[in-house]
């Protein structure tokens, strides 16, 4: 959530959002667990090895994947490399600035990275060309083009969708191109605590009135692969258990509908 003064919300609107959520409905008509409309455009950037544009309501992100040959890290000679980075572009929001990544961008990147890495979407042991010498490096870069809340879920969806259609460009190096093997389809579900309720996929205004955020990323195994409590705020253990259940329910629906 941008903490800057540009991101203020009027008390009247805040009251309206809170009252509405107390009654179980959100001001845009969604139920507490509804996501905004999701639109995924795969292969949006043909020059990339894999790509996807994701629109989550008005939030818009593009993930592009570049796969190159490189040398493995000395401590893991028999494993390819995956790196994920989210750029909060200055065009995406009035208070986003160019320059080195903000704490906010770094936190988002790391939460999305963990969800993908820990659910073993890519089996890095299969990305070895010559052990200790040459491996495939998978760079996932995500540009946030318009910020209207819930970057984490938009970026996880974009990254997984892009990985699904990624091709390893082995022919550039004298081999034969092959499809990047994808083992899991993790979905992150982020909830904002507003009043005493947890609401899924908060938009910007909801983020601004929330007291804390919680993200739970699960794969097909229904296990938690990443979780992050973010922003200032507190959750009871019961709320966290509820968040896990919601992520499991809503996440599997999103997986079936948009990632299969």
């Amino acid at each position: 959530m941008p903490m800057d003064s540009n991101a203020v919300i009027s008390e009247i609107k805040k009251g309206f959002i809170l009252d509405s959520i107390k009654k179980g409905k959100r001001i845009d008509g969604r139920s507490l667990t509804d996501f905004r409309e999701i639109k995924i455009t795969e292969n949006f950037i043909p020059k990339a090895c894999g790509s996807a544009m994701v629109e989550l309501g008005k939030t818009k992100v593009v993930a592009g994947i570049k796969i190159e040959e490189g040398t493995p890290f000395p401590d893991s000679p028999e494993s390819g490399v995956m790196a994920l980075n989210i750029e909060l572009l200055p065009m995406a929001f009035p208070t986003f600035e160019s320059g080195p990544p903000s704490e906010q961008a770094i936190e988002y990147s790391r939460v999305v990275d963990r969800g993908i890495r820990e659910s073993n979407v890519i089996d890095t042991s299969k990305l070895v060309i010559e052990p200790g010498e040459k491996v495939w490096m998978v760079y996932i870069d995500i540009d946030v083009l318009n910020y209207d809340g819930n970057i984490i879920d938009a970026c996880t969806l974009a990254a997984v969708s892009a990985l699904k259609n990624a091709i390893v460009p082995a022919s550039k190096y004298g081999g034969e191109d092959f499809k990047l093997p994808v083992n899991a389809l993790p979905v992150s579900v982020t909830m904002a605590k507003i009043g005493d309720e947890l609401v899924c996929d908060p938009d910007l205004e909801e983020e601004q009135v929330s007291n804390g955020r919680i993200t739970v990323t699960m794969a097909e195994d229904n296990h938690i692969h990443a979780m992050q409590k973010g922003d200032v705020g507190e959750f009871s253990l019961d709320e966290i258990r509820k968040a896990i259940k919601t992520s499991s329910d809503i996440g599997s629906k999103i997986r079936e509908k948009y990632l299969r």
Partner: protein, 240 residues
């Protein structure tokens, strides 16, 4: 990585001899940095972390918040704190830790009491041996209290994780490296509300419940160590 490392032996004990629900020893001392408004030194197993707190008018001025204090924790690792030298300066990991620690402390501090103020929490990890973010937060909250900042409660943290597929308390370095999950958590002990929680790895719902109930228990003891550290600064030693 190396799946064949055995973290729990046939007697159910861990590599360092602890039971699955046993903590490493923890020691906290306050008032260790004379210049700072508040400070604390924590030894948590082989972790050695020192925290200093400065409470002052926020600068530059435009960062001031007219109705509350802002909390800026900076988690930093000394070059010599880990096996391979850590390159000085912030990286993605340390910046994320600084952020989640700042947010957890913000939930405990009564920010409205200190408008326009900045609470700088400088965390220096002198020796790292798994669990530094939680040890840092646990020490930071003592250091903030030591600085006389009004607080709702002392944030207390703990970690759990999985070693050889089993839920264990307070991960050691090996368990952190070769285990299957890492779960740092911190609460406000009076209400039990969670102010920091991260998971990475592979955790089922049942395992999550096991881990949290183990941590909730352990945090009672750690809370007491925090309180004792604060109290002992003001107690008069016998026999002097």
């Amino acid at each position: 990585m190396e799946g064949n490392i055995k973290l729990i032996n046939d007697d159910g004990l861990r590599l360092d001899g602890r039971a699955f629900n046993e903590m490493r020893p923890i020691k906290i001392q306050t008032g260790v940095i004379e210049k700072a408004d508040g400070s604390a030194f924590i030894e948590w197993g082989a972790n050695k972390i020192i925290v200093a707190v400065y409470v002052r008018e926020a600068y530059p001025k435009h960062t001031q918040n007219m109705d509350r204090a802002i909390v800026k924790a900076r988690y930093n690792m000394a070059g010599f704190s880990v096996e391979e030298r850590k390159r000085p300066g912030p990286d993605r990991r340390t910046m994320e830790i600084s952020k989640v620690v700042s947010e957890a402390l913000s939930s405990a501090i009564i920010l409205e009491k200190l408008p326009r103020v900045e609470i700088d929490v400088f965390i220096e990890v002198l020796e790292a041996d798994a669990g530094t973010r939680i040890a840092s937060l646990t020490a930071s909250s003592v250091a903030v209290a030591d600085a006389g900042v009004p607080m709702r409660d002392l944030v207390v943290g703990c970690t759990a994780g999985k070693a050889d597929g089993r839920v264990v308390l307070d991960l050691s370095k090996d368990e952190d490296n070769y285990g299957q999950a890492d779960i740092p958590m911190a609460i406000l002990p009076r209400t039990g509300k969670v102010v920091l929680l991260q998971i990475d790895g592979d955790v089922s719902e049942e395992e999550f419940d096991q881990a949290t109930s183990m941590m909730m228990n352990a945090m009672k003891d750690i809370s007491k160590i925090q309180r004792d550290a604060l109290m002992s600064k003001y107690s008069i030693e016998d026999g002097e």
